[in-house]
């Protein structure tokens, strides 16, 4: 089993709804969630915050050789995306023509299956992004 069930469940708010963290002291946003602000450390007042669902591609790669669980998805695009609030995340880019996947392309979040361990196992859903048509 790839991920423990409790871990999958704990991460639902992040993975389904892009709930990250915002430091109210310095204004920076982080995704995934953090307990300590890297800038303010213990002086930072952190709150759960929904990240924007749109952003732009900073870098991308097309994956041809995948880790277990993703073999049938290849080739797929991975990208570092900078969301509209400057928080950054790593995600797959789907449903987009290869020429459209490039630095600066504007993208929006979609809800997709990330992986399933086996036909009998639990299914992990989460965020992917696509180039805004």
């Amino acid at each position: 089993m790839r991920e423990a069930l409790p871990l999958m469940w704990r991460n639902i708010p992040e993975r389904y709804n892009l709930l990250g963290t915002r430091c109210e002291t310095c204004g920076k946003s982080y995704f995934p969630q953090r307990k300590v602000c890297p800038t303010c450390r213990r002086k930072g007042k952190l709150a759960e915050a929904k990240m924007p669902e749109t952003g732009k591609i900073v870098s991308y790669s097309q994956v041809f050789v995948a880790p277990s669980g993703f073999e049938h998805d290849t080739p797929y695009f991975l990208a570092v995306v900078e969301l509209d609030n400057k928080a950054t995340l790593l995600t797959q880019i789907v449903d987009s023509k290869a020429e459209a996947v490039k630095e600066g392309a504007k993208v929006e979040m979609v809800f997709r299956k990330i992986y399933e361990d086996s036909p009998e196992g639990a299914i992990a859903y989460g965020y992917k992004f696509r180039v805004i048509p």
């Binding site: 870098s59 994956v63 050789v65 995948a66 880790p67 998805d73 950054t88 990330i114």
Partner: protein
């Protein structure tokens, strides 16, 4: 703080060793190091071992105990360090700190990994533990993909080309032809790399270091006692380490490793040197782009110019900074826990005049080793000075 020297080195060949277990590998390297150091087992006061993922690869933890047991050295204290692919470098650093701080006089340091018992896909999952499990592997990112994202941005920002990256692999393979310990001893061409098929664009098969079994070991000694054991001691002139975010996407930049810059600055300050004073470099070329970024981040050339720097021959034997004369991770192989120690060993060999003749630098005085964990969350930099 006392000065610390290396008095002996030893390693196994690196490769796919179907018949050798982790304990076979670590004892072989350990025995060779002790013999090379002319040291008796009873003189060794502690063992430090770097090993990233024995739990995932062979279901074995408690590696410190395994080393002490298998070397027949119970009841001496044994420590395991883990910092992904920098596990070996960190083991060396902690061993150095233990002697420098006056805790021990003589210790042995090993780095080891047994990676080939599992499938390639499962190995990729185990290695992905070097990154952020929950936000990188979860999305289907393997290590080639993570470094590919850095390569792509480097190409975008600085015009670095796939051919320039390929050259790093080509040069490293060229050096490894002479290295009896290397996994791959065949020369390759840029054309070979370009045709080798994408793993994660723009990185191709021959841009990526392989899965390897191997172990490497050294004996460290307080410098003022080193001459009791060897007439060719090598001083550790600097030992530095820095950290950065676990996940690539949270870094301040995708085109370099800030932890390398920080560790290098610290190392240069300790050893009172600048990049110009360094005669050779063993850097962490887990992927070809990593070598280009390392040359920049270590200060051998300006950010963004690494590709051209390699292209112009500056990293060749006789160049400004001969790099990876052993063959690097790409051609020697990359048993992840071992590489940090193996890099140091190859610098030591050069400083002692024990490198294979075709790649031996004349009168090398100062060498640098650079070891990275994951995509740059841990970086360890050591400087070595000839002590004789």
């Amino acid at each position: 703080m006392r000065k610390v020297s290396i008095i002996g080195v030893g390693q196994t060949t690196f490769g796919e060793h179907w018949s050798l277990s982790l304990r076979d590998l670590v004892t072989e390297a350990g025995i060779k190091a002790l013999e090379n150091a002319n040291v008796e087992g009873k003189d060794v006061q502690a063992l430090f071992g770097g090993c990233m993922a024995s739990g995932r690869f062979i279901g074995q933890e408690h590696i410190g105990a395994l080393m002490a047991d298998q070397m027949g050295m119970n009841p001496l204290p044994a420590y395991r360090t883990e910092a992904a692919c920098a596990s070996g470098g960190v083991a060396l650093r902690l061993a150095y700190m233990a002697i420098a701080g006056g805790m021990y006089d003589v210790v042995a340091v090993g780095g080891m990994e047994k990676m080939t018992d599992v499938s390639t896909e499962d190995a990729a999952v185990a290695l992905a533990g070097a990154g952020d499990q929950e936000s990188e592997l979860f999305n289907g990112a393997t290590f080639p993909a993570i470094y590919a994202l850095m390569a792509r941005r480097h190409m975008h920002d600085f015009g670095t080309t796939e051919e320039q990256m390929a050259l790093c692999a080509v040069k490293n393979h060229g050096h490894a032809v002479h290295n009896p310990y290397a996994q791959f001893r065949k020369a390759i061409t840029v054309g070979d790399v370009m045709k080798s098929g994408y793993i994660a664009s723009p990185l191709k098969l021959l841009d990526c270091s392989p899965l390897t079994d191997g172990a490497a070991a050294m004996v460290l000694c307080a410098s003022d006692k080193a001459n009791e054991y060897t007439d060719k001691p090598v001083e550790i002139a600097a030992s530095a380490q820095a950290s950065d975010t676990l996940a690539l996407h949270e870094r301040r930049s995708l085109t370099g490793l800030h932890a390398t810059e920080v560790a290098a600055k610290d190392a240069y300050k300790q050893a009172k040197i600048t990049p110009k004073d360094i005669d050779l470099l063993e850097c962490h070329d887990c992927f070809s782009i990593a070598q280009i970024m390392a040359l920049e981040d270590l200060g051998f050339c300006k950010k963004g110019t690494g590709g051209r720097f390699v292209e112009e021959g500056n990293t060749d034997l006789g160049g400004v900074i001969p790099t990876n004369l052993s063959g690097g991770l790409k051609a020697v192989g990359h048993p992840v826990g071992a590489s940090g120690v193996r890099e140091a060993i190859d610098v030591v060999r050069q400083l002692r005049g024990d490198a294979p003749a075709p790649v031996q630098i004349k009168d090398a005085e100062i060498g640098l080793s650079h070891n990275v964990g994951g995509s740059g969350a841990t970086v360890v930099v050591h400087a070595f000075k000839r002590g004789f």
